[in-house]
């Protein structure tokens, strides 16, 4: 059924259709609307049977989900940014124990300086935590990916993180096609755990493992992730059969036929990129984009196939590997090993910095002429940066960087960032 609604509401309704049994919630922007909506559904009885638990921290949220999942309940939580880092120990633990928890990450920057706006630093900091990581391009996809996430995670006994851009998606009102309960029930079978805490058949979960078997346990986690590369396309096809639309999958090419320049990106920025590419294609430029939906496991073969014919690749990412350059681009480079092509890393949109069509157009035109630096920071204010560098050169006690820059900028709200 077509509805106009906020992204968070759409995700909450989709999660409810998946019949979660335990939901734990701790507030952090920008995911709060999702758990607020779910909490209301549990409280008014429309989502039942389900336990909604207001916990005291994100660390507890994931720990409660670990316990609930190990006892055989379908478990869900949502977080972002500092919250994801605060629960990090339990994030690794959930995947290590093989518990198919589904978690929404409303992607947000990580401090300091504290910043509530969107980038991908949070989820990508957890890229090696053993979770399957899916990135939604729009609210319809965010909704659909949650339904697929429960199916995928429970089949593989692995937790799944569905990432959606904070505010840009979570707080945007868009038209979505909300499935019916019957459709979701037809697609998503009941959760049959591989291991469960049951007095009838007692097991010890989470025993200590030394050097004699630890490598094997870790290898099996890797092997299970790699299985997702086969399962995800199959589940996406099945999803299309039940729900009548394409959603999910590994990665998606857009106008890459005969493209000499291919942009690679994840999340909501793909929409803006596609608009710019349409514009450039009309002007005769041979440019396309490869959107990555699945970040972990990384679809190495799919990405390689998608980029094979290009002369150059521009990876535009809302994250940064400090001291190296890009995170996504490092992963893309792995997919391109042995191939000779120009590769550019573009760090963009950190902490909610708007990525405009104008900036992208300028960037892509420069890339086509191979005039880009290998690591480029899109729309970086060099005046501000240089002023601070001079200040640091002049005074040992130059003061806190963030405060200095804010003073230089003046009234932030008046500026169009």
């Amino acid at each position: 059924m077509l509805k106009q609604m906020e992204g968070s509401r759409a995700v909450a309704e989709a999660v409810a259709l998946c019949r979660p049994e335990v939901i734990c919630a701790y507030p952090i922007s920008p995911q709060t609307h999702i758990v607020e909506a779910l909490g209301e559904m549990v409280k008014d009885g429309s989502l039942a049977p389900c336990e909604f638990i207001n916990v005291e921290s994100e660390f507890a949220a994931m720990s409660v989900a670990v316990g609930a999942s190990a006892a055989g309940a379908r478990s869900y939580t949502a977080t972002a940014s500092q919250g994801l880092l605060y629960m990090a120990e339990a994030v690794f633990n959930a995947s290590g124990l093989g518990l198919p928890i589904v978690m929404t990450v409303a992607n947000r920057a990580i401090g300091a300086p504290i910043n509530i706006w969107n980038d991908h630093s949070d989820a990508l900091a957890m890229r090696d935590a053993g979770w399957i990581q899916l990135f939604a391009e729009n609210n319809q996809e965010a909704l659909d990916l949650h339904i697929q996430a429960f199916r995928l995670g429970e089949e593989l006994s692995l937790p799944v993180m569905v990432c959606m851009d904070g505010f840009i998606l979570t707080h945007a009102f868009e038209r979505v096609d909300m499935p019916t309960q019957a459709q979701v029930d037809a697609y998503l079978p009941c959760y049959e755990p591989r291991q469960v805490l049951d007095p009838g058949e007692p097991v010890s979960i989470g025993a200590m493992v030394g050097p004699e078997a630890f490598m094997e346990v870790r290898y099996l986690a890797h092997a299970r992730q790699m299985e997702a590369l086969k399962l995800i396309p199959a589940y996406a096809a099945e999803f299309k059969a039940v729900f009548g639309r394409d959603s999910g999958g590994l990665c998606h090419s857009y106008r890459t036929e005969d493209a000499e320049t291919i942009v690679v990106a994840m999340g909501s920025v793909l929409g803006t990129i596609k608009d710019v590419i349409d514009e450039m294609r009309e002007a005769g430029h041979k440019i396309g984009v490869l959107g990555i939906t699945l970040f972990r496991p990384f679809p190495v073969e799919g990405v390689r196939a998608g980029l094979l014919g290009a002369k150059r690749v521009v990876v535009l990412e809302k994250s940064m590997a400090v001291g190296l350059g890009g995170i996504l681009s490092t992963n893309v480079r792995m997919a391109l090993s042995g191939l000779h092509m120009h590769g550019y890393t573009v760090i963009a949109g950190l902490g909610g910095r708007a990525i405009t069509r104008k900036s992208l157009l300028g960037l892509f035109l420069k890339a086509e002429k191979d005039e880009l630096d290998h690591v480029t920071f899109l729309d970086l204010d060099w005046v501000m940066v240089n002023k601070q560098l001079e200040r640091e050169k002049a005074h040992r006690r130059s003061g806190p960087v963030a405060e200095n820059l804010l003073r230089d900028v003046g009234v932030v709200a008046a500026r169009n960032y």
Binding site: P49, I53, E56, V66, E89, L97, S204
Partner: protein, 331 residues
């Protein structure tokens, strides 16, 4: 063999043979049908108070729930000595997740059981004093204030024994640990620090809080049994001497626990909804020296120049407990 009532004389201690008691008062451990929830063959040290306490507590909980029990365990000695790969001592469904989240994991298990209509299966969380009073304290307090249906058992041996005897917030003043060494002007752990989590549990107004020691195992069993009759958040804090960390002989564990109770160092009580309902009174009050002297962690107090002032401060702490909890039966 049928039960025959036998008259007996008390000897001035609680050492009453099981066969002299009516069946309902007999120790769970005295039964041939005991659950052996923690089976033999684990790797605990000889004389481990925690292994003893856990065995009695969990078997009593198993009896009270007719074998329908799930346990969540914090990282620590109990976890490490009971589950060395590929073996496990646990005969019950058991999960270890992390050091600081046993209470939250237990909350999740209880929620799952409730939603699945299996609320007759009960949940126990357990950890040492480090996993309870320090790193797990946030999750513990959260579980308490939500009144989640979990019995949390803390096995308090006064330090991080698993990592080599470091100070925790349950380490008593003056005690020597690897991070409060017996050197300098004020050797051992600092006075005026630390916390007594049973009192903090009381402040949460949860349905049931109790303390116990491994010197009074029947009392421990009775408290676990009582706790399992109640729904909601429950807390039992058990003093479990550690021969390694305390520097005592492995055959002195029960004696040390008894001395802690008889000196007033460790108050043994039972409370419901924030109000103390009963204490286990001191039977033969002893000065704290009796408790301190056998322990190497206090050896620096009894050298050539006994630290009379420090011992007096420890006596004052015991006296305060005696007064605060009415341990001489003066109520």
């Amino acid at each position: 063999m049928s039960f025959q009532p036998i008259k007996f004389y008390q000897t001035g201690t609680f050492t009453v043979g099981n066969r002299l008691l009516p069946p309902e008062q007999r120790s769970v451990q005295a039964s041939g049908k005991r659950f052996n929830s923690i089976n033999s063959g684990h790797r605990a040290c000889q004389g481990c108070g925690e292994a003893l306490g856990a065995r009695y507590a969990i078997d009593a909980a198993m009896e009270a729930t007719d074998g329908r029990l799930v346990a969540a365990n914090a990282t620590g000695c109990l976890e490490v000595f009971s589950t060395p790969y590929p073996e496990t001592s646990w005969q019950i469904p058991w999960i270890h997740s992390l050091f600081g989240n046993a209470a939250a994991v237990a909350t999740g298990i209880a929620a799952a059981l409730k939603v699945k209509g299996q609320a007759q299966t009960r949940v126990v969380a357990q950890g040492g004093d480090g996993g309870t009073t320090d790193i797990g304290f946030g999750c513990l307090s959260g579980m308490f204030e939500r009144n989640d249906d979990v019995l949390y058992i803390c096995y308090d041996n006064g330090g991080y024994m698993n990592t080599g005897v470091q100070r925790s917030s349950a380490t008593p003043p003056a005690a020597r640990t690897a991070t409060t060494p017996a050197v300098g002007a004020a050797p051992g752990n600092v006075f005026g620090q630390g916390k007594f989590v049973p009192a903090i549990a009381l402040a949460h107004d949860i349905p049931y809080v109790a303390t116990a020691t491994v010197a009074d195992l029947r009392d421990l069993e009775a408290k676990v049994r009582r706790a399992m009759e109640i729904r909601g958040a429950r807390y039992i804090h058990i003093l479990v001497p550690c021969p390694l960390g305390w520097g005592t002989q492995s055959n002195e564990t029960i004696k040390m626990a008894r001395l802690a109770k008889e000196t007033g160092i460790f108050p043994v009580f039972e409370a419901e909804h924030g109000e103390i309902k009963a204490v286990l009174p001191i039977r033969h009050q002893l000065p704290v020296e009796e408790y301190l002297k056998p322990q190497k962690r206090y050896a620096h107090l009894f050298g050539k120049q006994p630290q009379v002032e420090v011992i007096a401060r420890l006596q004052a702490l015991a006296d305060r407990n005696i007064k605060r909890y009415g341990l001489l039966g003066q109520g």
